[in-house]
């Protein structure tokens, strides 16, 4: 981390990211506390109310994340730090974005067709493989999953129009 950061690789500093994450923890803690206070976090005649335990969980989370937040606020920005290099972030997004599309597609196309398309797209885009090397992987993996789950273990997975057309 001590090596200087190239300007075009700069994204956000570690400190800023620390503040953002600690801030999100604090927000989550407040959400937990308010909702549990609403349903009752006090002591009733018959014992602790439903929100009692989670309310204090939220309170401890609030205190702990506030300390992290303040500690990072106090730290002077000494050495410039970079949370993630731009090229690294690009590579992460190259996986994350297609994966998100894949997850959304499952709801419409079923998991097998989506998986085939996802693997094919990924190999073509990132691996730059020719079609004859993509096809076997993209077809055989979902097919193997299909036989393993639907046929062998009888665990149904989400299916789409193609499977219903085939009679499953």
């Amino acid at each position: 981390m001590s090596n200087p950061i190239e300007p075009r690789e700069r994204t956000v500093s570690v400190r800023l990211m620390e503040l953002v994450v600690a801030g999100m923890f604090m927000a989550a803690a407040l959400l937990v506390m308010t909702d549990n206070w609403r349903i009752g976090a006090r002591w009733a005649d018959d014992g602790p109310q439903a929100g009692y335990f989670p309310f204090y969980v939220g309170l401890i989370m609030l205190i702990a994340s506030s300390v992290t937040f303040v500690a990072n606020l106090m730290v002077k920005e000494g050495r410039p730090s970079n949370f993630v290099a731009r090229s690294e972030l690009t590579r992460v997004l190259q996986v994350l974005v297609p994966a998100a599309v894949f997850v959304i597609a499952i709801g419409y196309l079923g998991i097998y067709v989506s998986a085939a398309l996802f693997i094919a797209a990924f190999m073509a885009w990132l691996g730059r493989y020719p079609a004859h090397r993509i096809a076997p992987v993209a077809i055989l993996v979902p097919l193997a999953l299909f036989f393993m789950f639907e046929v062998w273990f009888l665990v149904p997975l989400p299916k789409g129009p193609l499977e219903s057309w085939l009679g499953y």
């Binding site: 002591w43 990924f122 789950f149 273990f153």
Partner: protein, 507 residues
């Protein structure tokens, strides 16, 4: 010698050929999972868990625990050949394993790693065999206050023994507890934190969280590093194995120390990863070859592997006897027990003898089988690692999605898995530990109900936690653990009053 006769009974359970078959399948899958980036012990077992719902619990646990042993063995392969730890606990193995491979002694490094793993597991299994029934018998007298005290100790140990900032450990842990509380409250029947949605009624399943945090998160981290696997070839043949075995007895002190460190760290929820580092550090300090560690010393491979495997195995001890897992993978196995309708805890040893002793016997057999499988199949797994990441990554993400879906047959869970993946990536980068989050998510409900029961007994007075010597000493120990970061700082100041503050090592 009651334990011995029970163990023999366990081997009888194991003699069912189907169970032996499941054991080998499990080991093989486990090594595969350990070798592949993004799939590890915890999420590998989580993904395969739904496949075992139709099996008998005994066969299922034998297969799943074999996957765990396989994953423990498999992590070493990538560490030695590719300098990439396949599992967090094999990071320390790369320190000397990869230099050995560079010198052309990959076979010796792997043999040492596997043998060390085997020895560590064997010591831990002996401990499990003889100590578990005693602890279980002792724990039969536990009431809710005692159980809560043990939970408290578990969670406080994370704060006291973690390398990360204690505040980050607590934040991460509390997030786990909060997520566990979402959904229907089992005591009053009230809805908590569902915010009027039907989807949140079910709450967050920790299996989905594990698959996201460890599986998808790991893929993102691997992708960030932009790895191209450039590995050393492994020449492993009977001659290399025998030569290495002839060399190993010299390092028996290191092996024993590693096994002891591992057992201790596994029972207390330190886990395999810190155990491996601690054992490596101790070996480096006390060994005559200490100065040459890091340049390819066989002893430097033996130390972390023995400890990691001992820790991984002994993590089952608190899980079986008290229902408190010592590691995320043990937590997933515990989740499995609950799904199969078995209540982990001391009663398991009374009511489910076949299950418990079948499992313990399978650990002995599983590790022998594991040693044989890894020694004979290294070239195969090394070849799998040469498959480019742009093929492996999408396949693993598909497998993770299938795993997340099958937990509850819920589409939303796949999206939740992806969100946990991003969370896992960011947490890892900012040194928020993931294990406390997972364990809190698993144990949240049980910890809460034992707390509430204890509170009901005492009518809301916290003095119940000091009402008898047993519970009092556990709670006090827990509080010492909790304040350990402060205590150790104070001790440091006391010892070296003039030295400026030591720089904080980033985990």
């Amino acid at each position: 010698m009651e334990a011995l006769s029970s163990l023999i009974h366990g081997f009888a359970v194991l003699s069912d050929p189907m169970n032996i078959l499941y054991m080998f399948i499990g080991i093989f899958l486990g090594v595969l999972i350990g070798v592949l980036p993004g799939l590890g012990g915890a999420n590998g077992v989580a993904i395969l868990l739904p496949l075992t719902f139709s099996m008998s619990p005994t066969s299922a646990i034998i297969m799943l625990s074999s996957i765990y042993w396989g994953a423990l063995f498999g992590g070493a392969i990538t560490s030695v050949l590719f300098n990439i730890p396949g599992e967090p606990w094999s990071v320390a193995t790369t320190f000397d394993g990869y230099p050995l491979a560079q010198k052309g002694r990959a076979g010796a490094a792997l043999t040492t790693a596997f043998t060390g793993s085997f020895l560590g597991a064997f010591v831990a299994t002996l401990l499990l065999t003889f100590l578990a029934p005693l602890i279980a018998k002792f724990a039969l007298q536990f009431g809710p206050a005692e159980f809560f005290a043990v939970y408290l100790l578990t969670f406080c140990s994370f704060v006291g023994m973690g390398k990360e900032s204690p505040f980050k450990v607590i934040s991460s842990m509390m997030l786990g507890f909060a997520l566990a509380a979402v959904g229907l409250d089992t005591v009053t029947g009230q809805l908590r934190m569902t915010f009027g949605t039907v989807e949140l009624l079910r709450g967050f399943d920790f299996l989905v969280a594990v698959i996201g945090l460890f599986g998808v998160g790991e893929i993102l981290l691997t992708m960030e590093e932009g790895l191209a696997f450039k590995g050393k070839t492994a020449k492993i043949n009977p001659k290399v194995v025998l030569e290495t075995w002839a060399e190993l007895p010299r390092y028996w002190v290191t092996a024993v120390r590693g096994a002891m460190v591992g057992c201790w760290m596994g029972i207390t929820p330190g886990g395999a990863t810190p155990a491996s580092f601690m054992s490596y550090g101790l070996a480096k300090r006390f060994s005559r070859n200490g100065a040459r560690f890091g340049t390819g010393e066989v002893e430097g491979v033996l130390a972390p592997e023995t400890a990691a495997h001992a820790a991984g195995t002994s993590a089952l001890l608190p899980m079986l006897t008290l229902g408190i897992p010592g590691s995320p993978t043990a937590a997933v196995l515990l989740g499995g027990l609950l799904i199969w309708g078995l209540q982990p805890g001391p009663l398991l040893f009374v009511e489910q003898r076949d299950f418990v002793w079948g499992l313990i016997a399978s650990i002995y057999m599983g590790n022998i089988a594991g040693l044989i499988v890894v020694l004979t199949t290294v070239p195969l797994f090394a070849a799998i690692l040469r498959i480019p990441f742009s093929i492996i990554a999408p396949v693993i993400i598909v497998i993770c999605a299938v795993g997340a879906y099958t937990v509850h047959n819920a589409l939303l869970d796949i999206s939740i898995m992806l969100i946990f993946g991003v969370l896992g990536y960011v947490f890892k980068k900012l040194h928020y530990p993931l294990a406390p989050l997972v364990l809190a998510l698993v144990l949240g409900d049980m910890a809460e109900s034992s707390f509430r029961q204890a509170m009901l007994v005492s009518q809301g007075s916290l003095t119940i936690f000091w009402s008898n010597p047993l519970v009092g000493s556990i709670v006090t120990l827990a509080l010492v653990m909790l304040s350990w970061p402060v205590i150790s700082l104070f001790l440091q100041k006391l010892r070296s009053p003039r030295k400026p503050d030591a720089p904080v090592v980033a985990g």
